[in-house]
C-alpha cells in the first residue's frame, strides 16, 4: 500500500521523459564560474586570488558562520578573476572564475567506482568530513548538510527520512541516481544514521518509479533498519513536512522544524554526496542535472561539474529548441527561471527545463470566483484566495492571523486557480514580509 500526506496536493502530469536516459558525463567546460553563494546561509569567503592555480577538490571558498558551507574547485586551472557574477536571475554574487586547464585532482581523492561499504568513523568524524566536503541539501533547498546532521542538544533525532519522491514533474536526476548509485546511496544513508545516532532510516520513493523501488528494496535487504516506503504520486510529496507525514504519520508543527518531532530529512542525492565526501574524500564538485523539455529532441541526465555555464549544457543537447521561451532551473513547480544562459550550474540545480510558450506563458487573469480550489489544493491548509486579497491591500496583520508564514511556496494554489490569479507571487512576497516582521519582533 502506498502512503501519502493528508492535506491538499495536486496531480500534475509527471512528464518524466528522461527517465530511461543513463547518466552521462558532460565534457569539461572551458571556463567555470563557481559562486560563493550556493547554499542557504552566509556566503563562503573566497580564499584564492587572481592567477592562482587550483586543482579539482581544492577549497576555494571557506564557510563563514554557522550556517554556511565550503566551496571547492570543480575544475583544475588558473583563477581568471574573483568578482561579482550574475546568477541565473541576474542577481550578482561573488564568484571565482577559473580558466580550465586539464583535469588535475587533489591527492587523496578516490575517483574509482569501487564501493567502500565499511564504515569505521564515529558520528562526529562523519559530520566533520561532510562539512569539509561542502555537502549541502541537493533537493533544492541547499541547506548545509552538516548543520542538519548536528541537531541542537535539547532535541533528539529518532529517525532519518530519505527523500526519493522526486514529485516535481520532468525531473529524473534522483531517479537515475537511485538506479545507478543505489548501493552508494544506501551507504550514505547508513553514514548519516550513524552521524545522527539513529537506528531507523526510511527511503520514500513515489510509485511512478517502480524500478527504483525494486532496486533499492533488494539492496537494503541485508541492512536492517533501512526501509523503503512506496509513496503515492502526488505533488508536493517531496515537500519535507509532507514526506514526513506520509512516512512516519506525524505532522511537523506549524513554524516548527522536522527535528521537533525527531525526524531529519535528506535528499537521495545528498546521501550520495555524503558517501563520496566521507568514504572517498571527494567533495561536492559534481551534480547530476536533468536536461529536459517536451520540445527537446534528446533529453539527457548529465553529470556536470558545478560552475559549468548553462550554455555548455544546452549545446550538448543540440542548442535551445526553437519554441523555448523559458528556461527553468529545477522543476516547473518550484524552479527558478533563468534570464541569461551564461549563468553557472549551482549545487542546488537539479534540472534545466525548456518550456514552450504554450506550456508556460501566463494567461490573462479574471476575477476570483471563490471556487475554493486553491483551498483544496493547499498542502498546508491555508486559504490562498484570502491571503492574496490581503496581500494586495498589504494587510500585514490579517496576513499573519491567517498564517501566511506557513506557506511552503509549492505552487499548488496557483497551478489550480481557474482565474489565473498570481496567488503565489503575492503570497511569497507577503510571507517573506510577515516572516521578517515576526523575526524582528521582540520575544516576550
Amino acid at each position: 500500500m502506498s502512503k501519502t500526506f493528508s492535506v491538499g496536493g495536486i496531480h500534475p502530469h509527471d512528464n518524466k521523459i528522461s527517465a530511461n536516459q543513463a547518466i552521462e558525463n558532460l565534457p569539461l567546460p572551458a571556463v567555470a564560474y563557481i559562486s560563493m553563494a550556493q547554499h542557504i546561509g552566509a556566503p563562503a569567503e573566497p580564499v584564492v586570488g587572481k592567477g592562482d592555480y587550483v586543482q579539482v577538490g581544492q577549497i576555494i571558498g571557506k564557510a563563514s558562520g554557522f550556517i554556511s558551507a565550503n566551496i571547492h574547485a570543480s575544475v583544475s586551472g588558473v583563477v581568471k578573476s574573483v568578482e561579482p557574477y550574475p546568477n541565473p536571475l541576474g542577481n550578482k554574487s561573488m564568484t571565482v572564475i577559473i580558466d580550465v586547464q586539464g583535469d588535475e585532482w587533489m591527492e587523496g581523492i578516490d575517483q574509482s567506482a569501487e564501493l567502500v561499504g565499511d564504515i569505521n568513523l564515529s558520528g562526529p568524524e562523519i559530520v566533520k568530513k561532510i562539512a569539509e566536503g561542502g555537502v549541502v541539501g541537493l533537493g533544492g533547498a541547499t541547506f548545509p548538510t552538516h548543520v542538519k546532521l548536528s541537531p541542537p542538544p535539547d532535541k533528539k533525532a529518532e529517525c532519518l527520512v530519505l527523500n526519493g519522491a522526486e514529485c516535481e514533474p520532468f525531473l529524473t536526476s534522483d531517479h537515475r541516481l537511485m538506479l545507478e548509485k543505489g548501493a552508494e546511496i544506501v551507504v550514505g544513508t547508513q553514514l548519516m544514521m550513524r552521524a545522527l545516532g539513529v537506528q531507523k532510516g526510511y527511503i520514500g520513493i513515489e510509485e511512478n518509479k517502480p524500478d527504483a523501488i525494486r532496486h533499492l528494496s533488494k539492496l537494503v535487504k541485508q541492512h536492517s533498519g533501512i526501509e523503503i516506503v512506496s509513496l503515492k504520486k502526488r505533488y508536493p510529496q517531496g515537500g519535507e513536512k509532507q514526506l514526513i507525514e506520509a512516512v512516519v504519520k506525524r505532522q511537523v508543527p506549524s513554524m516548527g522544524l522536522p527535528i521537533d518531532i525527531g525526524v531529519v530529512v535528506q535528499n537521495v542525492g545528498t546521501a550520495l554526496a555524503v558517501y563520496e565526501a566521507v568514504q572517498k574524500n571527494k567533495p561536492l564538485v559534481e551534480k547530476v542535472v536533468t536536461l529536459t523539455g517536451r520540445s527537446l529532441l534528446n533529453q539527457r541526465n548529465f553529470r556536470v561539474r558545478i560552475g559549468a555555464p548553462l550554455s555548455e549544457l544546452i549545446a550538448a543537447v543540440g542548442g535551445l529548441p526553437e519554441d523555448t521561451v523559458k528556461v527553468v532551473l529545477g522543476g516547473p513547480m518550484m524552479g527558478e527561471s533563468a534570464l541569461h544562459l551564461e549563468a553557472p550550474v549551482l549545487k542546488g540545480s537539479s534540472a534545466v527545463l525548456f518550456l514552450s510558450e504554450q506550456e508556460t506563458k501566463r494567461l490573462p487573469q479574471s476575477a476570483c470566483i471563490r471556487c475554493s480550489k486553491c483551498i483544496e489544493a493547499c498542502p498546508m491548509g491555508l486559504e490562498p484566495y484570502l491571503l492574496y486579497k490581503y496581500g494586495l491591500s498589504n494587510c500585514v496583520e490579517e496576513l499573519e492571523q491567517n498564517h501566511v508564514y506557513d506557506c511552503m511556496i509549492c505552487g499548488c494554489c496557483m497551478y489550480t486557480c481557474p482565474a489565473y490569479l498570481p496567488l503565489l507571487d503575492m503570497m511569497r512576497f507577503s510571507r517573506n514580509q510577515v516572516l521578517a516582521i515576526m523575526k524582528n519582533r521582540p520575544k516576550n
Binding site: S6, V7, I10, P12, P169, Q251, V252, P253, S254, I261, T324, V325, K326, V327, V328, P332, M333, M334, G335, S337, A338, L339, H340, L353, L355, E357, E359, T360, K361, R362, L363, S366, A367, C368, I369, R370, C371, S372, I375, E376, C378, P379, M380, G381, L382, E383, L386, N402, D406, I409, G411, M414, Y415, T416, C417, P418, A419, Y420, L424, R428
Partner: protein, 334 residues
Amino acid sequence: MVKKLLVSQAPHLHGKENTRRIMLDVLIALIPAVLVSVYFMGLSALSVFAVSIATCVAVEYLIQRYLINGPSTISDMSALLTAVLLALNLPPTSPWWMVMIGAVVAIGIAKMTFGGLGNNLFNPALVGRVVLLISFPVLMTDWTVPPSIFRVGADAISGATPLGIIKEGLAGGLTMEQLQGAHGFSYQYLLWGKIGGSMGEANAFALLLGFAYLLYRKVIRLHIPLTIFVTVALFTGILWLINPQQNADPLFHLLTGGILLGAIFMATDYVTSPMSTKGMIIFGVGIGVITVLIRVYGAYPEGISFAILIMNAMVPLLNMYCKPKRFGEVIKNG
C-alpha cells in the same frame, strides 16, 4: 540574436482548468434538464430560455460597456449560466416581459451592482426568481402547461405542483393517503414523470444526471448537496414518523419541488457558497432546515429559493469562522 527569455516566479506550469471551462461544464450538466423541459413543455419553454439568455447577456454587456467602461466578461459564460438557471426556475407559461424583468434583476441588480462575477453576495438567478415570485405571485404559480409540441393532442398537465396540492389539501383537512391516491404521486412518477412546476423541476432524473456529470468533472464537491438532502430527509422523516397522515414522507419531499435543482445547481454556486468544508456543511444543513420549515409551516409550498438566499447572506460569516484545518495545527507545541 539573443532570445529574450520569459522570467517569472514559480510555478511555471498551470493546470487545465479555467473559469470558462467550469461554467461550460455546469451548462453541459444542465443540458438534460433543459431538453426535458423543452420536450415536456414545448415551444413556450424554448421561448423562456431564449428571452432569458438574450436579456442576461445583453444586460451584462451593456452595463460593462456603458456604465463601468470596463472589459467585457461575456466570454466567461457566467451570464449565460445565470440565464439558463433563471429560466429553469420559471414556469413555462411566463410571459416574455416577466422573464426580461427577472433577467434584468438577476444580472443588473444581483450581480453587477455588487461588482460582477465573483463579488455577488446572492445567487443572481435566485434573486431574479424571488423578485418575480413576490411581484407576480399569480403568474409565477400558474403551472397550466400547454400540450407538448411533440405529442399533439395529449392532455395538458395538471395545473399545480405536487407540493402545492399537498399543502392545500392538508389545509383542507385531507390526509396524505387520500391526496397521494387521488393524484397518483408514485415515486416512479416523481422521478420520471412530467411534474407540474417550474421548468427545472419537471424531471428529477435529468437533474440527477447533471449531478453525476458535475461530480465526475469535479466541478462541485459532494458536501453541499449531500448535507441538504440528508437534512431534508431527516427533518421531514421525523415529522413523517410523528404523523404520517399530515406529513409527506422524506422521499416525496426530496423528489418534488426545487430541492434537486436548488441543491445541485444553485446552492453549489461557487461565488455564493462557503469556501471551507466545514462551512459547506453548515451551509447545507441551514438550507435543508429552512426549506423544510417553509414547506411545512410557511405560507409558500416551496422554500428552497428563500432558504438558499438566506444562507447566502451567512456565507461571509461562515468563511470568517470556518477555517480549513491547517497542516501541523493539531499538535502545536504547548
